[in-house]
């Protein structure tokens, strides 16, 4: 990919829910290979921003380019762009009526039209990566929250995405299970995966983030090197937020 093309490029993004303006003109960029963490108080619009990037939310106005493709253009084949963007949800959203292996294969089979053998091979490789090879026959209800989230990551990876979006991936987990999920995300980051992570895990942001974005009230208040922002927040809203969570 050329240096000119950002993985995600958001310009002047506005999003209304009814009369409520949730995003008030966001300009934002994620470069290929970058790990960008988005933090902020609840209701700040950070999840909405993330969900706009694969258009689970319809932007009201503005432009979003994913690898140079304008996903706000109605002519764009959204499904094909989405296969390049892995998404991990707070509530895991595994398909409860399918086994772990089926969860990992269904989109490979129906979207990528992979043969069964190939899909299973890819699925097993990604399950091994998240350390859950022995669970391939289990149903999601029989897994712990941490295991479910790791399966969800493996499911997204099985589509061979160019980038991953994480929407508060550890917020629904018991504290002792958070570490396993973060470890896998760190591993992904170290392999050079482009990542946009909405999170409350400041430790993760400090350790693996290339950029930290602080949002409040639908705008980006401050952004920069995570270690820098966390140690010396310039804006008082950032200071107030960090003093509460750190």
């Amino acid at each position: 990919m050329s240096a000119m093309t950002a993985a995600i490029h958001v310009s002047n993004l506005h999003k209304y829910f009814g009369k409520n303006e949730v995003l008030k003109g966001i300009d934002f960029q994620v470069d290929a290979g970058q790990v960008v963490c988005v933090v902020g108080p609840s209701g700040s619009g950070k999840s909405t921003l993330l969900r706009c990037v694969n258009r689970l939310e319809e932007p009201t106005s503005g432009r979003i380019l994913v690898e140079g493709i304008d996903i706000t253009d109605p002519e764009t084949d959204l499904d094909s762009v989405r296969t390049r963007i892995g998404m991990v949800f707070q509530q895991f959203n595994l398909f409860p009526h399918m086994t772990v292996l089926q969860n990992l294969c269904i989109a490979q089979r129906t979207v990528k039209r992979r043969s069964k053998a190939e899909a299973v091979e890819v699925a097993r490789r990604n399950l091994a990566k998240v350390g859950l090879s022995e669970k391939e026959g289990a149903y999601p209800a029989h897994l712990s929250g941490g295991q479910q989230q790791r399966v969800a990551i493996a499911r997204a990876l099985s589509m061979d995405p160019d980038m991953m979006l994480f929407d508060e991936p550890t917020s629904a987990l018991d504290p002792e299970l958070v570490g396993d999920v973060l470890d896998i995300m760190k591993q992904l980051a170290s392999e050079g995966m482009t990542m946009m992570v909405v999170t409350h895990e400041m430790g993760f942001a400090r350790e693996v983030g290339d950029k930290l974005v602080f949002m409040d009230g639908g705008v980006i208040v401050e952004e920069g090197d995570p270690r820098e922002v966390l140690a010396n927040p310039r804006h008082e809203r950032t200071q107030a937020f960090l003093s509460k969570v750190l």
Binding site: N54, L56, F89, I106, A107
Partner: protein, 264 residues
């Protein structure tokens, strides 16, 4: 008086009234007449026709109406949840219309009025077939509402997960939403099936060729034929056969509902 004594007396009083009613009925009923009318001995021959023709056709009509009704219901439910206003509108009008009409009227319409309106066009299967089409139309309307509720009960995150993996809307419906919706609605759907078994008895008013008659119709034949001295025995027999079919199914529904509540 102690409170427990009071309760004891109150309950005892209720049982006494109940016993009095039963005794009154038992004494006032002409048992000989009841026996002659409702359990005439020597009618073992009825069972053969009731089961081989009646139960068989009841089963066939139920299964056909259920299968076609379910297909129609799925279409209607998807239309009702569609983004297209016209689809929603058509589905709503259809569902309200056929839920608002007595099933009997719909069946009579299909059997007698529609063939006249369409220049004597006859549905396959003669009058019985026409009646079954009427049942399909009604069952489709009722099951559509059940299905819609089931589809809406699947958490939104499921569709979002599928779409975020690049799955198209149709694939998302077929592989993710519909299988989960069906799991949710198996108990109410089984209930609809039981209702449908009983509603096939309405087909008897449309009339049918001898070999095509369902259980109620066959039992009515025995009722009106002079050979059995027009007793109600065949009705009792039919009633027993219906219960043999429906009771296990209603128990099954209760069990399914209980299991689903535990799973939650």
């Amino acid at each position: 008086m102690k409170r427990s004594t009071k309760r004891y007396l109150r309950q005892g009083g209720l049982y006494a009234v109940l016993a009095a009613v039963v005794i009154f009925l038992a004494v006032s009923v002409d048992w000989g007449n009841v026996h002659r009318n409702f359990w005439t001995p020597g009618l073992g021959d009825n069972w053969h026709d009731l089961i081989v023709t009646g139960v068989k056709n009841t089963a066939i009509y139920t299964v056909i109406s259920f299968a076609l009704g379910l297909a129609l219901a799925l279409l209607l439910a998807l239309m009702k949840l569609s983004d297209v206003l016209v689809y929603r509108w058509i589905a709503t009008v259809y569902i309200e219309l056929f839920r608002g009409l007595p099933a009997l009227i719909t069946i009579l319409f299909m059997a007698f009025a529609v063939p006249i309106a369409f220049n004597g066009w006859r549905p396959p299967g003669g009058t019985a077939g026409a009646g079954v089409i009427g049942l399909v139309l009604v069952a489709g309307a009722y099951m559509a509402e059940t299905l819609r509720a089931g589809l809406q009960a699947v958490p939104k995150g499921q569709a979002e997960a599928a779409r975020s993996l690049g799955m198209a809307p149709v694939a998302t419906m077929v592989h993710v939403i519909i299988p989960q919706a069906f799991r949710i609605i198996i108990p109410p759907l089984t209930n609809e099936f039981v209702l449908l078994i009983k509603d096939t008895s309405l087909l008897s008013v449309a009339g049918a060729a001898v070999g095509q008659r369902e259980l109620t119709n066959v039992s009515r034949d025995f009722l009106s034929s002079g050979s059995t001295s027009s007793t109600g025995t065949s009705l009792v027999q039919a009633a027993l056969l219906y219960l043999i079919i429906t009771l296990p199914l209603t128990r099954l529904v209760a069990w399914l509902e209980k299991r689903q509540q535990r799973a939650r």
